[in-house]
Symmetry: C2
Subunit: 225 residues, 2 copies
Amino acid sequence: MGEDRLRLSLEESHHLLHVFRAKEGTPFEATDGRGGFFGCVLEAVERRAAVGRIVERRPGSGELPRPMELVVGLPEWRAAEQIVEHAVPLGATSIDFVVCERSGRDALGPQRIARLMRVARAALKQSRRSRLPELTSSERLTKAIGDLRPGDRYLADPDGNPLTPGAAKQGQAPIQPAVGPPGGFSQEERRFFLDREFIPISMGPSRLTTETACLALLSLVRNPL
Amino acid sequence: MGEDRLRLSLEESHHLLHVFRAKEGTPFEATDGRGGFFGCVLEAVERRAAVGRIVERRPGSGELPRPMELVVGLPEWRAAEQIVEHAVPLGATSIDFVVCERSGRDALGPQRIARLMRVARAALKQSRRSRLPELTSSERLTKAIGDLRPGDRYLADPDGNPLTPGAAKQGQAPIQPAVGPPGGFSQEERRFFLDREFIPISMGPSRLTTETACLALLSLVRNPL
């Protein structure tokens, strides 16, 4: 494609042409998932692929100014799907479903990750973000946390305090929220987080599921951005 | 029942006896949904109903210090279910699914409300709250807002600012977050909210679904409580 044209995937073309019923001249939006976001006009259909003329570029559309790297204790499948469905619109740039002591299941395999990526792509489009998040499922918490780059770290924790305004440092460092699996992190795991500068944040007087806690913590830490 | 005994409903009894497999002497927790929260020990089974001896009372368990009254533009059914599933653990004391200009559907009837109440009861139990929220579906936005008692009012709004700390007044007044239906509130509806002292709050650079926006706004406004 030339620099002012783009070609949609067959799946996206099908949606645009047959669900959304676009005709030649219909405006639509597209993203490459790497920060490119394009206002387009449908120009042609070539072998069932929609070709658009780019009329506007909005790089980084819908993205927060800082990365948000969510670490979550691996829950059951439906909860994992819900986390991706809501965390992507809320701006997560990566989600690691980490096997914890109380996860009681193996890390997600490639097929499961591929299914979650489909959920993420749909959520990206719906929320008009432009960078597809990275989804992983680490086997070991110590390695997952050890591999994180420096950042502002928050742990959803029954013994924490409410998030205080101004707790987040300025700058471009990633924000790294962490939420336990169903049943919570073990005492040893919790200690591990606190030793690595995760600030314990209370999620209130009620008991939240892993998925609700993820969304609540993401909502809090992204607010000042 | 005497003052130190309680009898579970048949549905709850079935869960306790056959799913959780409680035996005589097994401890369990129960709430009356009106602020009563009881630590119990299973004492007997009478006509398939579990009877517990109350060993501890924790009135108001899991409840925030202030009511949270959510007003949300009526979305499609699955979104409504998800809102109840997450908003109850987050502390909503009432949820009104209000028909708006862009809702494109009628108010929820009694059967739908009853189904949502079942979701709410399960969420109440799971989150260890003790007051069952009120669920309604108003036909008209102007009446729904007009009927609200005085409170701290917040509107999820693309043209708002991030929630600033200290925006919430002190006191016991309810907190009243409002979120639009899919497609958002109309300009006229938005004006109506602003005229009634709703503070517009930005939910960030991405576009959130009605359900994600509800959870994000609830998470923000409950944090200082």
